[in-house]
Every structure is written in structure tokens, then in C-alpha cells.
Symmetry: C2
Subunit: 303 residues, 2 copies
């Protein structure tokens, strides 16, 4: 790409193209098949949401100056980015969707929704008391946008929320990760809402799980790598889990997570709900406007 | 029972007896087997929660002056009560438990928890976008204690709540039931939290369901009689439902509700969760104190 050539922009949907400012050369690639035209003239690439080919195409975009991912996490893109290419994420766009999935998982586990669903399918009526969310002590691990959105939705349920993040923030009553071991024994429910980083990989291992009281619930809406899944499976029956993310997605056939008692999972759909779509379109439109105007884009991330 | 005989009190748990004031003659009957002693000298009866024999014993309590049920609804007791026997319900005790079940059902339906549970059991990974709760228009039918508790839990989810009750309360922005037909076409989610009364039986029939937009969700945590279940089944595929209460509990084998697409149910456990237990024990202790002291009991209901 010549230095004075603004190049092409690749966006994932027709709505994104329709919302682009006039004068910008914008084409749509949904992540299916091959992107059209000379890939070397793509300067700004908005990767399609959750399409593996959307990532693997990156090394072929040899003129790339900036890439926008529509996920909050970006650990899968980092290794593919040459120096000098700016990376932007979608922090904030998934907060509402992911937070409501966290509540869906917590409530489903406490009130046995997965069990009732299987009972209904099997023609079984097995009425009995369940656990409740009310009265529970919740340890919220991760206090970024998603963590704060989870907390806002949790508070009316008559729970006691304790906040923990990588670094203590005394002014917000957020404990630092060094206090994790001290806080786990007092948690009925632990909710993980942390990105994948060197600091969060294996955050909840055998030692941490052993500190949880009997019948505690572990909820994960961040990244599967935060939990040592084999250690969790080893605690099945004593600790319950409701997971939107797993170490391997999908888990291999025969993996014990498919059938572990008290372990429920959904297929990584925390961010993937209807409310994401209009938010993503509004966000991409704003990024395209900034790109065309030469203004700084929103949500730059350190690679 | 002689006029000056305070008689016996029957309570459902040992904790209730232990909490009774000294001097009161209190015995435990859990609802299993036969109550002990002369049933004619029971003047105050605290019926065990959700035990059918707890209701059928009532006609044999010939000296009864007052009966306490631990449910909010009391339609099953009314036909058995002689004149002069006072009836007290447990309004308020189930609010937190039932409201959190309403949210569990709403979130489960929007985020497909029952489907993921069955997929997990079947070894299927079928990742796809789901509906969201955020951005939904919720029509809340019933604005008593449970309805208000549901609303408090719903509001942080970025929804628009419209309130409806038997009678309009303009000062609280509560619409009257006469506006139901006008409001249904604007509802993505309808939540029923009404008791069983002459006015609520069949409240949602074929005509009301037909007014709902495609893909609307009907949630019921009140009483099954509020919904014409055959009409709901006829709308399966167009309208979704998440029901904690049904017309017949359990539904007969072969009833289409067991397998209707988009219709999920739990076995009437809205009020039946762990958080109810300490609330019930505190409440019974207070009623026993009032009974012994000759003070008016809490929660009298019109028969």
C-alpha cells in the first residue's frame, strides 16, 4: 500500500458497510469463503465475530495498519500481529450480554434448571426444595466492565458480594488477588470474569478449589484457562460448577466434563446474544467514522 | 374444647416447637402419618408446607379457631374452613424465593439453558447466538409482594418494565387489568405473578396469547389456572413459555406440555428454596408469640 493510499477497509456485515462514511473504500467479508480483492491493500480490518477464519487470514493482510476485534479478549490475535499494527478490542460491548449469562448460570445452578430440563425431557416430575441465591456470599473475581455489570445485576438478589481483582483498589473495596486464598473459604459462589492473561491462567487450581466450602458453586464467564479443569472434575460432587467457557471448546468426546455430576456448561455464548448485535453495529460505525476522519480509534489495547 | 381451654397448637417442625413461648401446649406434626392426641383440642394449626395431608386433616380439627398456611395462596384451604375459623397466609415469606425463580426462568429461556442442558447430556456442542434479556419489554402481571420483588431483580438487566394489576394504581404507574389486551402486543416477555382467584382464572387464554408478538415469552410463577394451557400449547413454536406452575401438577403422562417445543417447566418450586426455611421459622415463632399473648396474628386473609 502506498503511503498516501488510505487502502481498503474490511467489515463483517452489510450494515457496517452501509453505516460507513462516504469516501471510505469498504467491503464486506463475513468470514465465510475467501475475502474478495487484493488482500495487500486492506489497511483496517474489522474481524468477524467468533469466526476462526477471521483470525487465520490476518498474516495475509500485508498492508494492515489496524485491526478491530469484536471480542473483549484478544489473546488469539496477539501472536499473529506484526509490529506496527494497532489492535482494538470490543471491551464494553459484551458487558450486558455476558453479565446476564453469569446470572443465568448462577440462578440455573441454584434452582436446578438443567436438572428440570432433563427431567422434562425424560417425563419425570421430581419436586423438591432447591438451593437459593438469596442469602449467598458471592466472591466476584474480576472487577472490570463485565464484573461490575454482574455485580449490578446480583445486588437485588439479597446476596453479599465481595470484589477481587488483580490489584487491590481500596477506594472501591476491591481486594487484590493475593487475598484470594483468604476469601475462598467464605464463598458460597465464586464468579470468574477475568480475561486470559499470564496472571489468570490456572488461577483456580486444586489448591484454590480445596479451600471452597462443600457445595460451593464455581461460575466462569471469562476464559476456560482460568480454571484447572481436571482439578475441578476431581472435586465433582463436592463443588458444583456452571461454566460458559472450558479449557477445550468443544470438549473432546469422552471428556469427563460432559457427565460430571453438578457440572453444567453452555457452549461459550456469554457474549453471543441478541443484545450484542446493535451494540456492535453502533460501535463499528463509530470506529469507521474515526478511521475516515483520522481520529484516534476507541479501545486501543497493548499487544 | 372448653371456652377457657387454650387448647393445643400443632406446628410442622421441631424448630417451631422449640421457639414457642413457655406455657403454650405445642406439638409437632410434620404431615407424615397421623397427628398425635385428640384432634378436637387443636385450636391453632400451622399446616406443614406443601403436604397434601396437611390440608385433608382440617375437617377433623373440630375445635379449630385459627389456621396458618405457609403458602401465599390459600385456595386449596378455603373450601374446608368452617365459619368462625380465622385463616392466615404466608404472604411475603416466598417473595425472594419466587422472584429469583422468575428470573431463573426468564434468563434460562432467553439464553437457552434448558437446551444446553439437554445438549450436554446428549454430548452435543451446538454453539449459536441466543436471545438476550437486555433490551426486552417486560409486562409484569401482578404487582403484589412477589411482583415487586421480581421487578427489583429485573431492573438492572436493561429492560423496560410495564406494571399491571387487578386495579389500576396511577400513583405507582400500575395499569389495571382492563388494559391487558392493549399492552400484550408490546410485550416481549409477560411474567404472571398473580394468586388464584375468580378474576385470575383463565386470565391468559387464546385471545390474549394471539395478541402477543411472535417469539414472545410467557413466564408463570403464580398459579397454573391463570393460563389456558391448551391454548398455550396450540401456540407452541410461535410463543415460548417458561412455567413453574401448570394446570395439573404433575401433568398427566402424554400431556403435550412435556414435549412442546419452546415450553420449559419446573415442578412448582418457586417458593420452595433454601431461603424460605429460616424465613418460615422466624415467622412461625412470631405467630406463636402473638397467639400465646392474645395479640392479633399477622397476615389474616379474607376467606
Amino acid at each position: 500500500v502506498a503511503a498516501d493510499d488510505p487502502g481498503r477497509v474490511l467489515v463483517p456485515t452489510e450494515e457496517d458497510r452501509a453505516a460507513a462514511p462516504p469516501g471510505l473504500r469498504v467491503e464486506v467479508w463475513t468470514g465465510d469463503g475467501e475475502p474478495g480483492g487484493d488482500l495487500g491493500d486492506v489497511t483496517f480490518y474489522v474481524a468477524p465475530y467468533n469466526r476462526p477464519d477471521g483470525i487465520t487470514v490476518i498474516p495475509r493482510l500485508t498492508g494492515l495498519k489496524a485491526i478491530q476485534v469484536l471480542t473483549a479478549g484478544y489473546e488469539q490475535v496477539q501472536p499473529l500481529l506484526p509490529d506496527g499494527v494497532s489492535l482494538y478490542n470490543a471491551a464494553g460491548l459484551h458487558d450486558a450480554s455476558t453479565a446476564e449469562m453469569a446470572l443465568a448460570l448462577i440462578l440455573a445452578a441454584q434452582r436446578e434448571v438443567p436438572e428440570w430440563a432433563v427431567d422434562q425431557r425424560d417425563g419425570v416430575w421430581h419436586r423438591h426444595f432447591t438451593r437459593s441465591l438469596a442469602g449467598s456470599r458471592v466472591l466476584l473475581v474480576g472487577y472490570g466492565g463485565i464484573g461490575q455489570a454482574i455485580e449490578a445485576r446480583l445486588l437485588p438478589f439479597e446476596v453479599e458480594v465481595t470484589r477481587l481483582a488483580g490489584h487491590a483498589r481500596p477506594d472501591q473495596q476491591v481486594h487484590g488477588v493475593g487475598e484470594l486464598a483468604a476469601l475462598l473459604p467464605q464463598a458460597d459462589i465464586v464468579v470468574l470474569a477475568v480475561p486470559e492473561t499470564g496472571a489468570t491462567r490456572g488461577l483456580i487450581g486444586a489448591g484454590e478449589l480445596a479451600l471452597l466450602p462443600d457445595d460451593a458453586l464455581l461460575v466462569n464467564v471469562g476464559r476456560g484457562s482460568a480454571v484447572d479443569q481436571a482439578a475441578l472434575i476431581a472435586e465433582r460432587g463436592r463443588i458444583r460448577a456452571a461454566l460458559d467457557v472450558l479449557e477445550k471448546e468443544p470438549p473432546p468426546p469422552g471428556d469427563p466434563v460432559w457427565r460430571a455430576p453438578g457440572v453444567f456448561f453452555s457452549p461459550h455464548i456469554g457474549g453471543g446474544s441478541a443484545t450484542f448485535v446493535p451494540r456492535a453495529r453502533r460501535f463499528v460505525a463509530e470506529q469507521l467514522r474515526r478511521w475516515a476522519a483520522g481520529e484516534p480509534l476507541l479501545n486501543p489495547v497493548d499487544k
